[in-house]
Amino acid sequence: MSDVYIVGTDMIKFGKFPDRSVESLGAESAHGALDDAGVTINDIQALYSGNLMQAAAMVGQRIQQEIGQTGIPVINTSNACATGATALREGWMGIKAGIYDCVLAVGVEKMAGAGMLGGGGGGKGIPTEGLMGSGSMPCVFAEAGMAHAKDYGTTFEQFASIAVKNHHHSTMNPKARYQIETPLEEVMGAEMISYPNTKLMCSVNVDGSAAAVLMSESEVKKRGLTSQAVKVRASVLTTDPWTDRDEVMPDVNTCTRNAAKEAYERAGIGPEDLDLVELHDCFATAEVLHYENLGLCGDGEAPKLIDEKSTWLGGKIPVNVSGGLLSKGHPIGATGVANVFEICTHLRGNAGKRQVEGARLGLAHVIGLGTCCGIHVLEAPSA
């Protein structure tokens, strides 16, 4: 089986685009990725599209109608917040299987103004929201974080520090939704949504898209793209195995742990070999859990990692130097491709002020509630 490489990526600046269609947003990053790879739509053998909110509406074909209807297969994917990673992985599998040599993956979403996600039951009877707890996403992830606090004494201040870091990182990312520093007292003093998550500790609903061109090894060599070809060392997708609490408490931990273990095995590396990580900080509480789930530290050591600022740019293992979902924004279907864009940008040395110097190996992680986890381990082009 051929190794698979990402030879071109792009993401649009995340924001609010009320006057633009989903397909035009998707087309913009698709064109960016094609240009980056030095190919055209006529070179693409299959298109993998990720979108959640219009999952039944053939978004991939609508993107084709914007950038070129060449008659190639289109695969539309929908997998909650792991939608983008799933689309990318399907493309990776198409090349791994030997069916294609050059494919395009696009993730796109219009989210601005969607309001708070989640829900409180519905269907027959009376609404359970506010009677049987809350099904809102800020609450679900607050409860996941407070379970960590129960075991390890994680504090409100430590959870809030995650948002301070990610909002700081995004000041160096011109494509992030926000470029605004938020000191600790501002994060902790912001509107409380669902304790301990304040408004500045919740991901931003934005519109966005990101895209990647994937190629087989032979295609990379044929086109002379070795110097920009980021190798996919592992592409893993898991779901949540049954755990005792998951009817009332979606388990984002076990599926991440299982995916990380498999990703490290397939890549033949350990977490200590990583130079940077983009992980699914849909809420500040979630990032804390994933430090341990991804093995960036031992169980119970996330609070120490936070206090030592190890995950800031310049620290031992920088996490979410893009600004993360908290500050870059979280356009659901695009998120899993945007994370890969960020890692590739560092591995190719193009990340500007936020560049992780000498980055050779990076990991991109997303979680979709319902539940699934996607992880990609990526390696810098050989010199």
Partner: protein, 138 residues
């Protein structure tokens, strides 16, 4: 209109006589306890293995959040709480009988299930029985 309160969720049982109670299912093959009925066991895949399993009214607070912003029309703040019940089964519901202040709520504290008529009716005017968690009596 029903002549007795309806159940807010299928695993809350409202008998004609006696107190309401919670009842889920236990898999006879692997002992997994679930709140909802399934085609087969989510833990082990066994078919036709479920038995009714009455849940305890006592347990331990596993996690909580205090909700200050919910969906339109929902009164805030309230405590959303998750408890592991003695003998198995985990439930999530509002916590009452304690201030909505994180300093006052101890993770791991003993809690009990209490049953009350919900303060909402459906479109036909039916009343619903619900349950809350509250600190266990000392």
């Amino acid at each position: 209109m029903a002549d007795k309160p309806l159940s807010i969720v299928p695993y809350l049982k409202v008998p004609d006589a006696g107190d309401p109670y919670l009842e889920g299912y236990r898999c006879g093959e692997c002992n997994a306890i679930t709140l909802k009925s399934r085609t087969a066991c989510a833990a082990c895949g066994a078919r036709d293995s479920f038995q009714d399993h009455k849940l305890s009214n006592e347990g331990v607070l596993h996690s909580f959040s205090i909700i200050h912003r919910s969906f339109p029309g929902i009164e805030v703040p309230f405590i959303s709480a998750i408890a592991d019940l003695d003998g198995g089964g985990t439930v999530k519901t509002n916590m009452t009988g304690i201030e909505a202040d994180p300093e006052k709520i101890d993770l791991g504290m003993r809690v009990q299930v209490v049953y009350e008529i919900a303060p909402r009716k459906d479109g036909e005017g039916n009343e619903y029985m619900t349950f809350y968690l509250k600190p266990a009596a000392k």
